[in-house]
């Protein structure tokens, strides 16, 4: 495809600048986002075991509920009957009491002790998975939501511009460069090929992420503007009124019966729980679960209204049964969350997300590489200050995010026994390591800091499965949930050699790679030794 040279030149400038501005924040968003693909398993892995007795069978849910309501009448306002209790929802009956903000709740679970008395526990859902998710959503910024979210939106717009400008630059040489990977003396060519390989084929994935993020950042503002400009009297949301009881003294059907009717109406829909809200004298019920044949707009479930007196499910909020507009919107959400196709797609998204993080990383490497001051006959020149600064910043921010997340995850199983404010501790650990890593990268210089931080990442990541192992032996209050939680530990274990291998390559490049580079050993201002400059050493640049 032919594009005029001056257009290419303009879009090259655009691409470079939006890339430099947004690349590192996008790295954090993608690395933390890749981990967030398994937010629910991570939350279960991180939640300490409940002290409640084993849940009574579903058939006794109403008995338990009556016992709860007798002692805690406020529970009637907002409660759940759980069909399949899990580590993070370890009770048959759970109720929510409002917290500080609209979306915050304190959850309590109830069960019967062996002697038949009522047991109540404040649920201790682990906050660490939420922290990683928040890092992802707010591109790693430690600001309150109201400040970080518009910045995230701006980053998303820059990201969209980076994608289109990158594509425009790539199009003229598409036939020659698509899927190419030329390893040789030309290191800039190599990084360019890597950058293209990571970005071009997965372009649809990236376009989806950029556009959905613009909406996630600005949807309130978009609605406000449309309410003023497009619609007659504000956005005309249609409110649904819950069906009233058929007779004044009618009671909701028991959960067992609701479950049977749900299976009959929605075969293939795996029910997680029934939730009930009391508002203005009306009982509003909904059913939550998942049909893996369809993607969902929530990350891990679909939810719709349920008539608690007849068991009738309102299907129009269920994927696969929505109207075309809702189906389209549901698709936008599902494409961002990877909430379709079950766990295999979550793994695909995890890998695509990590590839995305590398895309932004290699973008910065390319910037540094194309500003390299080449060696001349009279010795090795000093590299530019901007290249050194960006090198340190790239290493510090990216690896700081990696070590910070590993450290805060490794602390998960030790904190609950020792401290009260778990969320603050997890956040503190992350940002302490992140800030320290960035500072370290500037003090030590990019190459040495990269090697050291990668080794630290390996060590901290190894501590994740080790603390689960401590839990198996019951050391220091750590715990281990048998079963699927192992996958988290095994994944962390698999990441350890990866960090070490990259550290090894980085160390080798520092020794035998080009001396005229910010990646060379800092002390090397003397002329190069003649050996050690073959194609193999070029590969490690």
């Amino acid at each position: 495809m032919k594009i005029r040279n001056d257009v290419i030149k303009v879009y090259k400038d655009v691409h470079i600048w939006v890339g430099i501005l947004s690349g590192l924040m996008l790295f954090i968003a993608f690395y933390a986002g890749a981990i967030t693909m398994f937010e629910k398993p991570l939350e279960r892995w991180a939640t300490p075991p409940s002290s409640l007795a084993a849940p009574p069978p579903l058939a006794r849910a109403e008995v338990l509920l009556q016992a709860v309501l007798a002692e805690h009448p406020q529970a009637a306002k907002n409660y759940l009957i759980v069909v399949e209790p899990t580590v993070d929802a370890p009770a048959r009956v759970i109720w929510r009491e409002p917290g500080k903000s609209r979306r915050q709740f304190t959850e309590f679970g109830a069960s019967f002790a062996d002697d038949g008395s009522l047991q109540v526990e404040k649920l201790r859902k682990a906050p660490v998975a939420q922290l990683v998710d928040t890092l992802h959503q707010l591109v790693g910024l430690p600001f309150p939501d109201a400040l970080a979210r518009p910045i995230m939106g701006a980053v998303a717009l820059l990201y969209a511009v980076a994608l289109v400008s990158g594509l425009i630059i790539f199009l003229p040489t598409l036939a020659k460069d698509l899927l190419a990977m030329r390893i040789g003396h030309n290191i800039k060519r190599l990084w360019m090929d890597v950058h293209n390989a990571l970005g071009v084929v997965s372009l649809p994935f990236h376009v989806v992420m950029a556009l959905t993020c613009v909406v996630f950042a600005f949807h309130d503002e978009f609605y406000d503007v449309q309410g003023a400009v497009v619609y007659e009297q504000g956005v005309p949301w249609q409110r649904e009124t819950p069906p009233g009881p058929p007779t004044p003294d009618a009671r909701p059907l028991p959960a067992v019966e609701l479950l049977r009717l749900a299976h009959a109406q929605q075969p293939g829909f795996d029910v997680f729980n029934f939730s009930f809200k009391q508002a203005g004298g009306q009982l509003e019920a909904s059913i939550t679960g998942l049909d893996t044949r369809y993607g969902t707009r929530a990350r891990t479930y679909a939810s719709t209204h349920l008539n608690p007196y007849t068991g009738e499910i309102d299907p129009h909020d269920l994927p696969g049964q929505m109207d075309p507009w809702d189906t389209a919107v549901n698709t936008f959400f599902m494409l961002h969350f990877g909430s379709f196709g079950g766990n295999p797609v979550r793994w695909l998204y995890l890998l695509l997300g990590l590839a995305g993080a590398l895309l932004f990383y290699t973008g910065n490497l390319l910037w540094i590489e194309s500003r390299r001051r080449k060696q001349r006959a009279d010795g090795v020149p000093e590299q530019t200050r901007s290249a050194r600064v960006l090198g340190s910043l790239t290493v510090g921010v990216s690896l700081g995010c990696v070590v910070g997340i590993s450290a805060t995850l490794a602390a998960t199983k030790w904190l609950p026994q020792r401290v009260d404010n778990l969320a603050a501790w997890h956040e503190g650990i992350y940002y302490a390591l992140f800030v320290a890593a960035v500072a370290w990268a500037f003090v030590r210089g990019a190459p040495r800091a990269a090697v050291e931080l990668l080794r630290l990442a390996a060590l901290l990541t190894l501590l994740i499965p080790l603390s689960s192992l401590a839990g198996v032996w019951g050391i220091g209050g750590a715990w281990h949930h048998p079963g699927i939680g192992c996958v988290i530990d095994l994944t962390a274990l698999a990441a350890v050699p990866v960090f070490l291998v990259i550290a090894g390559y980085t160390a080798r490049r520092m020794r035998v790679g080009h001396a005229d580079s910010v990646w060379a050993q800092p002390a090397s201002s003397q002329p190069l030794p003649p050996s050690g400059r073959g194609p193999a050493s070029a590969l490690q640049e």
Binding site: D177, L178, L198, R293, G295, G338, G341, P344, V345, L352
Partner: protein, 94 residues
């Protein structure tokens, strides 16, 4: 969803995308690339299409297309790295 059918669809998608990679002149997996590559391209496209059809039989249309595209994108992203790795080993036999 039938896990066997899902696996079959995934395999068809992976092999299809891989054949499409081999059909591109820039591929480095094969030392002596098959030319003309039309046969590779057509069989790759046919297998990829088969994967899509299999996915459509077991999921909603949106979910099937999205799953299919995610798989093709990931294989297409990894392929050049695997090709370059093999070419590198070929050049310097261990």
């Amino acid at each position: 969803m039938n896990p066997w059918l899902y696996t079959l669809a995934a395999l068809a998608g992976i092999v299809g995308a891989w054949l499409l990679y081999l059909a591109v002149p820039q591929q480095q997996w094969l030392a002596a690339p098959r030319r003309p590559a039309r046969g590779l391209a057509w069989s790759g496209a046919a297998l990829a299409l088969l994967a899509l059809l299999l996915l459509l039989t077991m999921m909603g249309a949106m979910a099937a297309v999205a799953t299919w595209l995610s798989l093709l994108m990931l294989v297409g992203t990894l392929a050049p790295f695997l090709g370059a790795w093999r070419a590198h080993r070929r050049r310097r036999p261990a």
